[in-house]
């Protein structure tokens, strides 16, 4: 693959060469024409001079060359002939040159046995004078001039080649620098590359590279932040677990040891749950693949989730149920992700609802979409917290029963946004203590009529009961 520079040089020098040749041809033509004008003038002048001699009655007496020699073709010497008007050649400076007696006055080119000759004919009352010159010599001189003009042109070619190469080299150096700069970028240094010094044609490419670098930087930073946050958040469950195990070690009677082991088991469950949720979140990140688009029967999913949580709800003394009504709700999405989403919503609701409270899963028609809502009768969420609550690791400031990880709503939001749905927070079920409760309403797109039904996936529940 010839480089851009090589190709540019080749084309430029080719053009230069063609130009030089054209100039040479033009020079030849122009020189020839000018020579013709000058020499024709001389011819005419000679003929007129000779004519005036004959007019004056003085027959010219040029030294007649010895006969039989060939006419001189190589010099610019003129050949002259004099005729009488009745066609008798009375003088010829080069007798072997046979020029026909012309009838017309003026210039003409005659092809003779010895090549083309330029002839000027003039006449007086009694005589006809002809002056002639070989054309060949004119052409030869013109050619010589043209060729001489070619020499500087051709000499200029290597010089121009050098200049062109040097100029290209200099112009393309910023490009090479930019290429080096891009090569030096790595996962840890993703600053944009300088574009100011680059030629206009290449700038768009580098600007696209810079945009890509910025995108990469953002993605990597987000990932790093997530990892750092996750590691930080794991400290609390692990600290609890460490202390709990030390308590086991210092418990010497069966009852206290059993209690301590029980606590340690709950601590481990909490740590495990955090890790599971972190995994779920990492799979739902901005660079995750788009979800499957299957037909998911939301009513069946809701009932299945409620069944999974019913034992824990009973243990907490909370009334958990589904209010599906006659709504035939099939959403378009990934059944497993939607189940994860509902699990997190119900888990949150159970944590924030007191004993004898209530948690409802409701399905609703929403025109072209279908809505599923989880409403609890807990303390609710003040309006100013409703935006902050989606942030990763954010825990509501209300001393809810049982610590959460702060990731549940982040996961819910990630699933909703990857499905192109909407999420809203509103007041839920009011309770006896005046709390407004919280309702989390998710709207999803309905399933396409021809979409495939979701397969029943066996989702690993990870100790939903212990919580």
């Amino acid at each position: 693959m010839i480089s851009l520079r090589g190709r540019l040089l080749l084309w430029s020098l080719g053009a230069l060469g063609v130009g030089a040749v054209l100039i040479a041809l033009a020079t030849f033509a122009i020189s020839l024409q000018q020579m013709n004008e000058v020499l024709d003038g001389e011819l005419r002048q000679s003929a007129l001079t000779l004519l005036s001699h004959y007019q004056a009655g003085r027959p010219a007496d040029p030294a007649a060359p010895p006969g039989g020699t060939d006419p001189d073709l190589d010099s610019l010497a003129l050949a002259t002939q004099v005729w009488t008007l009745d066609g008798r050649r009375i003088f010829a400076s080069q007798p072997s040159l046979e020029l026909p007696m012309a009838r017309i006055q003026g210039f003409e080119t005659v092809v003779t046995r010895h090549g083309p000759w330029r002839v000027y004919t003039d006449r007086s009352a009694h005589y006809l004078i002809q002056a002639a010159q070989a054309m060949a010599v004119r052409q030869r001189v013109a050619a010589a001039v043209a060729l001489r003009s070619l020499v500087p042109s051709l000499a200029a070619v290597p010089l121009l080649a050098l200049l062109l190469a040097g100029a290209l080299q200099r112009r393309l150096r910023p490009l090479r620098r930019a290429a080096d700069a891009v090569r030096q970028r790595s996962a840890t240094s993703l600053e944009p590359v300088e574009v100011a010094a680059l030629p206009g044609e290449v700038r768009p490419l580098l600007e696209s590279i810079n945009a890509l670098l910025a995108q990469l930087d953002r993605a990597l930073s987000a990932q790093r932040r997530f990892t750092a946050d996750a590691a930080h958040e794991l400290r609390t469950p692990l600290a609890a677990l460490r202390l709990q195990l030390q308590i086991v070690g210092s418990s010497h009677d069966a009852a206290s040891r059993a209690d301590a082991l029980d606590d340690a088991a709950r601590g481990l469950a909490r740590a495990t749950r955090l890790v599971e949720q972190l995994l779920q979140l990492s799979r739902l990140g901005p660079d995750a693949p788009p979800p499957r688009r299957e037909r998911v029967d939301l009513a069946a999913l809701a009932r299945s989730v409620v069944a999974d949580f019913s034992r824990r709800a009973d243990a907490l003394g909370i009334d958990l149920g589904v209010e599906a009504g006659p709504v035939a709700a099939s959403a378009s999405g990934d059944a497993e992700q939607l189940r994860v989403m509902l699990n997190n919503l119900v888990d949150n609701a159970l944590r924030h609802t007191p004993r004898r409270g209530r948690v409802d899963l409701r399905l609703r028609d929403a025109g072209r979409r279908v809505a599923i809502e989880v409403a609890d009768s807990g303390a609710g969420l003040p309006d100013d917290e409703r935006e902050r609550v989606f942030r990763r690791f954010y825990r509501a400031d209300d001393g809810s029963c049982g610590p959460g990880t702060g990731l549940g709503l982040s996961i819910v939001r990630a699933v909703v946004s990857s499905h192109g749905g909407r999420i809203e927070l509103a007041d839920g079920l009011s309770n006896a203590e005046g709390g407004r409760g919280l309702a989390v309403r998710i709207t999803l797109m309905r399933a396409e009529p021809g979409a495939e039904a979701a397969r029943r996936t066996e989702y690993h529940r990870c100790d939903l009961e212990r919580g």
Binding site: H232, E233, R235, T236, P237, L238, A239, A240, L241, R242, L243, Q244, Q246, I247, S250, D263, R266, G267, R270, D397, G399, G402, P403
Partner: protein, 220 residues
């Protein structure tokens, strides 16, 4: 020795409180920043274990304001934030020590004892009063080289009396040092325990200062 544990996480709090109690401390457990603030202001604690990420009020603010008010109680900060900047901020806000989660219970106990003895103006870990030696960490008492068996409350009262050499502690002060929020001692519980101490160590060891309280005397 009475300790304030400030920790919002229920599992960590429960395990830490239990562990510290088993190490001989009387532990009061506050679960948010406001409760911590009010408790510290009571001024009855020998040390405070303070978690920084608290609901209702941030731990560093609680610490800073307590120091501004003149509270000199030793504070050990326990937190998941471990960058150098955060440690420096914690120490500059008035913490006496900084422990990062997850931490070891034994290490927490040792650091607490170190803080408490330094605060009481002593360099050696053991409290000595002549021939009476009390080791707060190992929870041992020796009189003239012989070990003495004491109950938990007796040990706590003796430690409170020996912590600052020559100090006189009133009955109320001894109650504050030995009983937590959830204990409901009888009105003469302290006197009963002092009586037991005198029986085990000798009548002269715990002196009555009329109208003021009790004091440990130099023991030969």
């Amino acid at each position: 020795m009475r300790l304030l544990l400030v920790e919002d996480d229920p599992m960590i709090g429960k395990a830490a409180a239990l562990g510290l109690q088993r190490a001989g401390f009387t532990v009061d457990w506050a679960r948010d920043g406001r409760a911590a603030e009010l408790s510290i202001a009571n001024g009855v604690y020998q040390a405070v274990v303070l978690d920084l990420a608290l609901p209702r009020k941030d731990g560093l603010d609680v610490l800073r304001e307590a120091r501004d008010r003149g509270e000199v109680v030793p504070v050990i900060v326990v937190t998941a934030r471990d960058s150098v900047a955060e440690r420096v901020a914690g120490l500059n806000a008035g913490a006496d020590d900084y422990l990062v989660k997850p931490f070891d219970l034994d290490e927490l106990v040792a650091r607490l004892h170190a803080l408490i003895r330094r605060h009481a103006g002593r360099a050696t870990p053991r409290y000595e009063c002549g021939a009476l030696v009390l080791d707060p960490v190992a929870r041992r008492v020796q009189l003239r080289g012989a070990a003495v068996a004491l109950s938990g409350r007796e040990f706590a009262i003796l430690a409170a009396l020996m912590r600052v050499p020559g100090a006189v502690l009133s009955v109320e002060a001894l109650e504050d040092a030995v009983y937590g929020w959830h204990d409901e001692p009888d009105s003469n519980a302290i006197q009963v325990h002092v009586h037991h101490l005198r029986r085990k160590l000798g009548a002269d060891i715990v002196r009555n200062v009329r109208g003021c309280g009790y004091r440990i005397a130099e023991v030969q």
